[in-house]
């Protein structure tokens, strides 16, 4: 798989999750926020992280790569922490988030995606900027 193909696949995956998590969190927050404020706020946080990662991954500059690594790194920590807490502190999560139980509701893709993203980003440094010579 070419480097550009890998980037396109990551952007597509992150865009899908940005749309899914964003739409889900907006509906949850606008219609029943009081039922599970922590879960719904985390859904919104996840949506924002997915959106930032999508936009950063679309660009090829070193700065964008650093932003993408930061966003995907936060996502990796988030899915592990929220996934663990949703199992050991079930009462904190009366409703599901994208990251609940390590993304079981999304076929564990939310768990695999950040580590695949980090692996790809660390293996593919940004091309040198032609203007910086």
């Amino acid at each position: 798989m070419k480097a550009s193909t890998g980037r396109q696949v990551l952007v597509a995956c992150y865009a899908v999750f940005a749309v899914a998590a964003g739409a889900r969190s907006l509906v949850q927050i606008t219609t029943r926020f009081d039922e599970a404020p922590l879960a719904y706020t985390l859904s919104l946080v996840a949506a924002v992280i997915y959106l930032v990662a999508t936009l950063a991954l679309r660009r090829t500059s070193e700065r964008a790569r650093r932003v993408a690594i930061a966003a995907v790194g936060v996502e990796a920590v988030g899915v592990v922490v929220v996934g663990t807490l949703s199992l050991v502190r079930e009462e904190w999560f009366p409703d599901q988030t994208v990251w609940s139980e390590f993304g079981i509701g999304y076929l564990f893709i939310p768990l695999v995606l950040p580590f695949a993203g980090l692996w790809w980003l660390l293996r593919h440094p940004a091309p040198p900027d032609p203007e910086v010579r």
């Binding site: 798989m1 550009s4 193909t5 396109q8 696949v9 952007v11 597509a12 995956c13 865009a15 899908v16 749309v19 899914a20 739409a23 509906v27 606008t30 219609t31 679309r58």
Partner: protein, 121 residues
């Protein structure tokens, strides 16, 4: 619901063919044309669905119109959103079409949306 599952199954099969087409170049053009046709069918089916929902009695409408319209929008909008490529800044540069892997991912995501759209009726 049967129509939704049939559409979703067709989209999953097309996604599998798109993934296979990354190894079989002769399949690339038929897959891209089929994806375009699929988008047209999805647009038609979604518009008919929304029309029926709007014409239905209040009691027969989806429990959450916001959710239903959201899935309808995703069903129609995801494929173009994911496959569309930003034009390069250099006007002479050639825009390559989206990778067939992206087409496959988009088709799978739309298949999920089609089923969820039917489930929210």
């Amino acid at each position: 619901m049967a129509l939704a599952w049939t559409l979703a199954a067709a989209l999953v099969v097309l996604a599998a063919v798109a993934a296979a087409a990354t190894r079989v170049p002769s399949l690339e053009r038929p897959v891209r044309v089929a994806a375009l046709v699929a988008e047209g069918v999805l647009l038609g089916v979604t518009l008919v669905d929304l029309g029926l929902v709007l014409l239905a009695d209040t009691a027969d409408r989806p429990a959450s119109m916001l959710t239903h319209v959201g899935y309808a929008t995703a069903t129609v909008g995801l494929l173009p959103l994911l496959v569309w490529r930003q034009p390069p800044e250099d006007p002479e540069a050639v825009v390559e079409p989206a990778s067939l892997w992206v087409v496959a991912i988009a088709l799978l995501a739309v298949a999920v949306c089609v089923v969820r759209l039917a489930q929210t009726r």
